[in-house]
Structures are given as C-alpha cells and as structure tokens.
C-alpha cells in the first residue's frame, strides 16, 4: 500500500467505548499525562533542592566553579530547545487540523534540535570535562589551590547528575518522537487522533521547562 503524506488516512477522532464522548476521552489522556509530569516535577525537584542547599553553603566556591561552564554554549542549547518546543507546539496544531506532512516536518525538526542539543552538550561540555578528570568518580583529578577537591566533586556531582538526567530525558524524547513519526507516516490505526502528538508534546515541553531553570542556575550564576 502506498503511503500518503498529504493527509491523515486512518479513521480520525474515534471515541472508544469506555468514554462518554470525544471531549472526555481527550481530557482523560491529557490528565494522565499531567499525572506523570507531576512525578517528573518531583523527580527533578529533588535535584534542584540539593543544588539549593549546597549552593547556599558553598556559594563562593560554586561561583568560581561555574566559570568553567560556557554561557554561550548553554545559551545556544537553550535556544535550540526553545525552537524544538515551538515546533512541537506547531506539530500539535497541524495534527489537530489533520495535516500530515506539516506534522511530520515539525516532529522531524524537533528531533533534529534534540540531536543537536545532545551533540553540542557532548562535544563542548561533557567530553572536555571528562578529559580533564572533572567528573565525580574514581578518575577525578583536581589541582586547584583555591577550591577544595571535595566541594569541586560535589559541584560536578550536581552538574552531571542534573544535566545528565535532563539529557537522558532528551534521549528518551528522540526515541519516542522517532516512533511517533513512523506510526504517523504509516497511518497506523493507533494514531486515531492528535492526542499521541499532544501527550508527547507535553513531555517535550516539560524537558524544555527543566532547562529554562537549569540555564540561569548553572550557567549564569551571580557572584
């Protein structure tokens, strides 16, 4: 069967039997996604709390340590995530209007942005730090005369823990977006309305939200 790219071919807006109507069905999906996002807020919240407690204690050291991070690289990644968030919002918009090709283009652009985010993070942040031994663990090496090694380890634990957890979410996002694009392109019956795009979009906006707070806290720390 030839794959059509110009419009959604599968039956759209199917109401499943356990729901009263389409409105209730859609609300249920979105509510379930938000319940998941609440657990995600709790998950990341504890990382922010650990950061707050230790920065409160070691602010002068943390300020000196944060100077290793490049605000330009962080800013570029912030903008890339912002663009990807916008394009997911557009994908939902086009899916609601049942325009198949724009949905696929928007999701594809989002995936590109997510990949770019990871590549920039690896090449300009993680790998240089790893080579210098600036990571928490047995290979940690530190030769500063100003900052005690244990406080530096604490900083790198927080940095790699928080941004690493965020990067893991980006990786999961890329996998899920790829699957969603494949299913939409194939007119798979599981995509019976725009809700799969909407729910994945909620997830992706949340990933963007986390970065909105991470960026000023880690890259633009005041003295």
């Amino acid at each position: 069967m030839a794959i059509s790219l110009d419009k959604m071919n599968q039956p759209q807006d199917v109401v499943y039997e356990q729901f009263e109507d389409l409105g209730q069905q859609q609300e249920t999906y979105v509510l379930g996604m938000w319940a998941f996002l609440v657990t995600e807020v709790m998950f990341f919240g504890i990382m922010f709390l650990a950061y707050t407690i230790y920065r409160w204690k070691y602010q002068p050291y943390f300020y000196a340590l944060h100077q290793e991070l490049d605000w330009k690289i962080g800013g570029l990644n912030t903008f890339i995530l912002l663009m990807s968030s916008f394009s997911v919002a557009l994908a939902v918009h086009f899916h609601q209007r049942k325009m198949k090709m724009p949905v696929l283009l928007c999701l594809g652009f989002t995936n590109l942005c997510a990949l770019a985010f990871l590549v920039i993070k690896l090449l300009f942040e993680y790998i240089p730090k790893w080579n210098k031994g600036h990571y928490p663990g047995p290979g940690f090496s530190w030769d500063s005369t100003y900052i005690p090694a244990n406080i530096a380890q604490l900083w790198y634990s927080l940095y790699f823990g928080t941004t690493g957890l965020h990067a893991l979410h980006v990786v999961i996002g890329i996998i899920l977006f790829s699957v969603l694009m494949f299913l939409i392109a194939k007119d798979h019956p599981i995509i019976s309305d725009y809700l799969p795009t909407e729910m994945l979009g909620l997830y992706w906006h949340f990933v963007d939200l986390v970065w909105i707070f991470l960026y000023p806290l880690y890259y633009l720390m005041p003295k």
């Binding site: 389409l22 002068p60 244990n150």
Partner: protein, 149 residues
C-alpha cells in the same frame, strides 16, 4: 461505536498559529533578557551579599514567567478543564512545600560530619581531630581570584 465517530469533531481547542508564534518570540526575548540581566546586574546592583540575592530572584522570576508561558500556551493548560489545571499546578505546589520545609537547613548550624572537610585534597577521609566549624571558613573570608579555579 461507529455512531460516535466524528460526533464531536470540534470539541478540542486549536491554538492559532499566531498565538504560538507570539509565544515563541516572547520566550526568545525573555531568554535574551535572562542573559543580559546576568551581565548587567552586577553593574547595577554592585557586589554585596544582598545584590546576589536580588540577582537570583530576578533571574528565577524571568524563568518563572517563561515557564508560565510554556505551560499556559505551548502545553495548552489555559484551554483545558479545571481538573487538568489542578494537576498542572500540583507538582509546583509540592515543590514550594518542599523548599519551604528545607529552608530549615539555612537557619541551622550543620552537624559536624567526619571526613567532609576542605582539608581533604582527593577524597573524603575521616578527620575526627579537626573541628568542622574551623574547617569551613565563613563566606566573607573566602577569596577566590576572578577566573581562577
């Protein structure tokens, strides 16, 4: 089931393209504002402990406005029912409670913990003979030259 198909085709809200575009532009402007603030704030506020607090509050305030825009428009909570709105604020209410409770940490002396002193150069080793309060100098006594770490 078939009679339900297309019964409520237009029950959902479609956020207009213009609204999404405007939100994106607002977010980009606020991002630029965050960066600009980080560089100009020290010149405006000077370099006192309270200026650091104000600097942080403004930076996080901008981040909150950005988060509000993303949640309301991009995530579409503005156009959802009240039960979805309730769930959307639930996590942030919990965050507020958690931070309020842990503000306790800022008002107390930390308990001395063996092996967690700045004297250790490579790893944490027990140093029972060194009092913790002496090991961590007060904030005003820590002087790290600019750009050195």
């Amino acid at each position: 089931m078939s009679e339900h198909v297309h019964a409520h085709e237009h029950s959902h809200h479609i956020t207009p393209f213009g609204t999404l575009m405007a939100t994106f532009i607002k977010l980009a402007i606020l991002m630029a504002a965050t960066i600009a603030w980080a560089f100009f704030a020290p010149q405006i506020l000077g370099n006192t402990p309270i200026s650091s607090v104000i600097n942080n509050l403004v930076a996080l305030g901008i981040a909150c406005v950005k988060a509000w825009l993303v949640i309301q428009i991009f995530m579409g909570v503005k156009f959802q029912s009240n039960v979805v709105k309730t769930y959307a604020i639930l996590g942030f209410v919990w965050m507020t409670l958690m931070f309020t409770m842990f503000a306790d940490y800022g008002t107390r002396q930390w308990e001395p913990v063996q092996g967690w002193t700045p004297g250790d150069t490579q790893q944490a080793l027990p140093r029972a003979d060194q009092p913790y309060e002496e090991a961590i100098p007060p904030r005003s006594k820590i002087n790290i030259p600019e750009g050195k770490h």
